[in-house]
């Protein structure tokens, strides 16, 4: 106990020293670390967090870890070195990230996780994550309905290191596997990538021309799969995605992809910055560390209301 306190004090002293040693930074700094902005979902997170940070008078340091846990660890070091007051993090792995967040905590810097959770509590101050399982169930229920409860289908899975890939797949199967007439003829990872989904879909389609549907772990893969299907003159195949991107919205409204599930990425990132602000200014932690945000089904009925990962009324 004494040791813990001493270490915390030491850490605190270190941070204070840093603060005084770096007078160049006028405003307090918030580090915003996400996967690559190639995926509009992560970009929306970074943009949302940055906008809120600036609105609250902070300077924002926006970084990307490209789903590389080593790079993430270096970026956390950078945030510590720059004397960030808080870290907003969409992390690079549920297990690999625990040590990195602990490192920041030991340096006196609170972390606020968004989108993906980690397999530990008490390390981050907040973990604000989309209820991916609930969202996957919504997507799968719509998929089952569109398929008429029967037929051959393909599942495209996300990047294995990302917990959400597993959670969504589990959510899909917890619904779909209750229907014995729905048969999964192929299940492959396309690592969240549009180009990879395109090439995987091409070869899957050659081996299984009799497919009726594709359920995808995210929207970029759904876009890639649909492009491959369209190129093969198979626009009849039912495609369902996940995220609620503007690309998929446009596909839905032009009778391409049938449905997706909206994750409130923008609102979630802003909420994390608000909680960070409350922590920095008032030393107040959110009531619960793990906070789930429900997802919403987007199909032909409401796609027009979708804009940058938010539904407009």
């Amino acid at each position: 106990m004494t040791l813990t306190r001493r270490m915390t004090l030491a850490a605190f002293a270190g941070v204070l020293a840093l603060g005084t040693a770096a007078p160049a930074f006028a405003a307090d700094l918030i580090a915003i670390i996400t996967p690559s902005h190639d995926n509009p979902f992560f970009k929306a997170e970074a943009v949302g967090a940055e906008a809120k940070a600036k609105e609250l008078g902070y300077e924002a340091l926006v970084l990307v870890h490209d789903d590389d846990a080593n790079k993430q660890s270096e970026l956390i070091d950078t945030a510590i070195g720059r004397g960030a007051k808080a870290i907003i993090l969409d992390n690079a792995g549920a297990d690999a990230t625990v040590a990195a967040v602990q490192k920041a905590k030991d340096a006196g810097i609170p972390s606020f996780l968004i989108d993906r959770e980690i397999n530990a509590t008490g390390v981050a101050v907040a973990q604000i994550v989309s209820n991916n399982y609930q969202g996957a169930q919504l997507g799968a229920q719509e998929f089952v309905k569109l398929m008429g409860e029967k037929g051959n289908f393909v599942e495209l899975v996300g990047k294995e290191s990302d917990t959400n890939a597993g959670i969504r797949s589990k959510g899909y199967h917890d619904v779909i596997d209750d229907y014995p007439d729905l048969k999964m003829v192929a299940q492959q990872s396309a690592n969240w990538s549009q180009t990879e989904a395109y090439s995987k879909m091409e070869s899957i389609l050659q081996a299984n021309p009799d497919i009726k549907g594709v359920i995808s772990g995210n929207d970029t893969m759904a876009m890639g799969a649909y492009a491959a299907l369209a190129a093969a003159n198979r626009k009849d195949v039912i495609v369902v995605g996940f995220d609620g991107s503007n690309d998929v919205r446009d596909s839905i409204t032009s009778s391409g992809i049938k449905a997706t599930v909206l994750q409130p990425a923008y609102a979630q990132a802003q909420m994390a910055v608000e909680q960070a602000n409350d922590f920095i200014k008032n030393k107040k932690s959110p009531e619960k560390e793990k906070q789930l945000m429900d997802c919403v089904l987007v199909n032909g009925d409401n796609a027009k209301k979708l804009e940058t990962f938010a539904l407009k009324n």
Partner: protein, 214 residues
Amino acid sequence: MPKKLTWLTLVALAGLGLGACKILPTPSAQSEGSAPAFNPDKMVEDIWAAKVIPYLRQKAGPFAEVHALAKTDPAAAGAKYGNPKKQANSPWTFAVRVEGKIVAANTQSRAATMDIDVDGDGKADARVQVGPAMRGTALRDSLDFVQFNDFTNQIDFAQFGKAFNAYADKTVLSKLPREALEGRSAKVLGAYTIEGGQDLPLVTPAEAEIGPKP
């Protein structure tokens, strides 16, 4: 400037690295310990009769009352029939009793349902899931002694939710009649979650009886 920063970072890290070594064992010993493998079906089986059914019986209100209050004052309905410890951003889930006449049934789908008229106007008021495929996690979410923060991650929490539906299906719903349901009486104890865009409130039963053919 960069030199100074690096030096400071090193000092901070050196001290902290040591701290981490000493601090870590306590929380990890608590969370990992000698915990047995996660078995959601067994967990649900263990609490079903002892905690789940008594909780729902004590908490549930008649459907018409619960739903009327939920529409006018969700917070009041939540305090009375809901789980006050729910996630702040999640919709309310209420414990209810549904008693009435079956006015329609869909037993063609594997996600079979029956529509119940509770006020005798001939129109359906609630849709009750009768399995084997069931949607949502209303039973889990109605219980104030179940917290997401007690689970390692969403997958475990989700499997726990699914285990409630599976247990209800195995012990109660799979034994219900499937033919000629219309016109018969039904009595259900269960839970439902307020969701937008629903045709009818979708009730997941923990107990259910269907009366004889009229």
